[in-house]
């Protein structure tokens, strides 16, 4: 069963967080924010806020409560935030009333570009460069969603609680890498490879990651073929896989 809180956490900290990578990968996105210096904070109850800071054609995502913001958007509940994402309701601005134009114009345009990558058409995926970027963003979405499901979904919390404290590194050869840090059942995803992790999961290349994350490749068959490999503390990976199997429930 989909938890509204887990869904909101995914919408916030795995999907919207992608703005950071979108502005690196997509030239249109970069151009849209080239001359803007704005920071937007999304405050959703029951979870850390997300601040997206745009400056010099780059975006930085932060979940630190003390980050500077120019625009603050408040939501009354996780469900309210999910309704905003699906276009049913509006946020409640509590700061930055004179900057709302950026939100309505540039930020809205960025969201639309992001959607083309995260919900690509079959036609779009025929373009190899677009498909690769789409996979990178999809991979980051899924990798960051793992922590949100582990922290907020009822079954996800059970699996997260079975993961011993330490870092799990997930990477795509010559592609994105994230490190998931687990402490007392709480998970936190951050970008980058971690050599000191206790457990490792590697996708042989971006096409394998694409196939597994989109469900067109069988992950077990990929393990047998050496296209998806694991090492280190396998119980950590086993429990992470249980959470990974819940990702499509939320991202479908």
């Amino acid at each position: 069963m989909v938890s509204q809180t887990a869904l909101a956490a995914i919408n916030l900290h795995s999907i919207l967080r992608n703005m950071e990578d979108l502005c690196d990968l997509d030239e249109r996105a970069k151009q849209l924010i080239q001359n803007h210096k704005k920071a937007i904070r999304f405050c959703v109850p029951q979870m850390p806020p997300l601040t997206l800071s745009f400056e010099n054609g780059k975006c930085k995502a932060s979940d630190e409560a003390g980050a500077h913001c120019d625009i603050r958007l408040k939501f009354t509940s996780p469900t309210h935030f999910n309704q905003m994402v699906s276009g049913e309701k509006n946020p409640i601005p509590t700061k930055g009333f004179t900057s709302l134009g950026f939100l309505k114009k540039e930020f809205m345009a960025l969201s639309q570009i992001l959607e083309t990558y995260l919900k690509p058409t079959e036609e779009g995926l025929k373009d190899r460069i677009f498909a690769e970027k789409s996979t990178i963003l999809t991979a980051y979405t899924a990798f960051f969603a793992l922590s949100q499901i582990g922290n907020y979904d009822e079954l996800g919390k059970l699996s997260a609680g079975r993961i011993e404290d330490g870092a799990i590194c997930i990477d795509v050869t010559q592609g994105p890498a994230v490190t998931i840090r687990v402490k007392e059942g709480h998970m936190h995803t951050e970008k980058g490879f971690c050599k000191e992790a206790k457990a490792f999961m590697n996708f042989a290349d971006i096409q394998v990651a694409e196939g597994i994350l989109r469900g067109t490749l069988d992950s077990y068959a990929c393990i047998g073929k050496g296209l998806l490999s694991v090492k280190g503390k396998i119980p950590m990976i086993d429990n992470l896989n249980k959470i990974l199997s819940l990702v499509p429930v939320y991202l479908a």
Binding site: L158, Y220, G224, K231, K233, I234
Partner: protein
């Protein structure tokens, strides 16, 4: 030393994934079997004899997994195979059972110290599940107590919430406590007074991917008394340890008596049969449980079991396995020390668990195991290993030579 390649295995796997979920599902497959990395392991066997398995690339391995336990006398044991073959010729899966069923039950009762009767099925999970159903039928209670990490099969109640296919109601009556913790058992018994049907446990704690724990002195005697005092059925899952510690049952080895005891794996040296044995006071409860299967009373595996158990008793197999396991594990520890690794060996020597403790992640251990496999010693990195009666001193010496060279490879990488 030559290292192996697996071109035929990999080609066969390519065919398999097209028509079989996961290519090879379950514990024999590369995923659940923790083939790390997969390139170090064979996927398919061509033949097996004694202590050895040959893969489809004609590489020979000393099999220290023993098919995860069933191979106890050696693959293709002539006397066992002949007993089974004779029974196949005479009649196997028939409309009424054969005399072999009675003979095997009598043999089990005469062999297993705590057994007054025997019930036969196919896999270990069949009889661990039957044991729990019998306990519930006898007590009218719902709750099952087990030890954290204890493996008793794959039925829903044996898994955990969050695992694919498992729902809350499957596991809500299962309570898990730490092994070797009498106080935890006393506490759960006090909290659930009158509700606990059984405690199910392996005779010593041998979970996968964790150091194994033998029982503390008096642990089982204290647990036995608490069970008796509170009307809780004590079930020993001897599926994995059975006949590798004591032919009379692993409860006998540790000096107590189970109410119900489950056997499978080594019972028939690879023929498919399992057994639940129990005390008289539970016989009518076992009869009352509706529990059967198309092949459970097949006679050929029973003939194989009769021959296997008879030989195991005659040669005192557990003593041989424990002793050879001790020689091998001491040698492995010495080889590790030579290369400045610390190899920790836990559990009982006939089915020991080992782990290089020099890195927290197990990556070094997985590397060493993979280099051993590539050279012909089939170990698993995540699970206890097994000895069998066909292994010779020559096999042990070769294994130590392989281990030495494999440690050398890993030591060089570490440097």
């Amino acid at each position: 030393m030559k290292t192996y390649e697996y071109n035929n295995s990999q080609a066969l796997f390519e065919r398999a994934v097209k028509v079989i979920p996961a290519g090879i599902y379950g514990h024999l497959g590369p995923s659940e079997g923790c083939f790390i990395p997969v390139s170090a392991y064979p996927f398919y066997a061509k033949r097996a004899k004694g202590a050895y398995v040959w893969d489809v690339d004609d590489n020979r391995f000393i099999d220290y997994m023993c098919a995860y336990g069933p191979n106890i006398l050696g693959y293709g044991h002539e006397a066992v195979d002949e007993a089974a073959a004779k029974q196949f010729r005479e009649g196997n899966c028939t409309i009424i059972p054969t005399e072999k069923m009675v003979t095997l039950a009598e043999l089990m009762v005469d062999t297993v110290a705590s057994a007054d009767w025997a019930f036969f099925a196919k896999n270990g999970g069949d009889v661990t599940n039957l044991a729990v159903m019998t306990a519930r039928a006898a007590t009218g209670r719902e709750k099952i107590v087990k030890f954290i990490g204890g493996y008793h099969g794959v039925a829903q109640w044996m898994q955990s919430l969050g695992y694919p296919g498992i729902i809350k109601s499957d596991v809500e009556n299962v309570l898990a406590i730490p092994f070797n913790d009498v106080a935890a058992f006393e506490q759960v018994v006090a909290e659930q007074r009158g509700k606990i049907a059984c405690l199910i446990a392996t005779p010593y704690h041998h979970p996968a991917m964790a150091d194994n724990q033998v029982p503390l002195p008096d642990f089982w005697q204290k647990i036995r008394k608490i069970c008796t005092d509170n009307g809780i059925i004590l079930i020993i899952d001897d599926v994995r340890c059975g006949f590798r510690l004591d032919v009379q049952g692993s409860d006998h080895y540790y000096g107590f008596e189970a109410d119900l005891i489950c056997f499978c794996k080594a019972l028939a040296n690879g023929y498919n049969i399992s057994a639940l044995c129990g005390k008289n006071f539970l016989k009518s409860a076992a009869s009352s449980v509706f529990y059967t299967g198309s092949y459970w009373l097949s006679a050929a595996p029973m003939a194989a079991a009769i021959e296997t158990v008879s030989i195991l008793k005659k040669i005192n197999a557990p003593q041989m396995l424990l002793e050879n396991g001790r020689i091998l594990t001491e040698g492995l520890v010495q080889k590790a020390q030579k290369h400045e690794f610390n190899l920790l060996v836990t559990g009982e020597p006939s089915m020991w668990y080992m782990r290089i403790t020099d890195d927290e992640s197990n990556v070094l251990h997985q590397r060493w195991i993979s280099e051993c496999v590539r050279r012909g010693a089939f170990f698993a990195s995540h699970h206890n290993l097994f000895m069998n009666c066909a292994m010779t001193q020559e096999d042990i010496d070769l294994t130590l030579e392989i281990a030495d060279e494999a440690f050398g490879v890993v030591a060089k990488e570490r440097a």
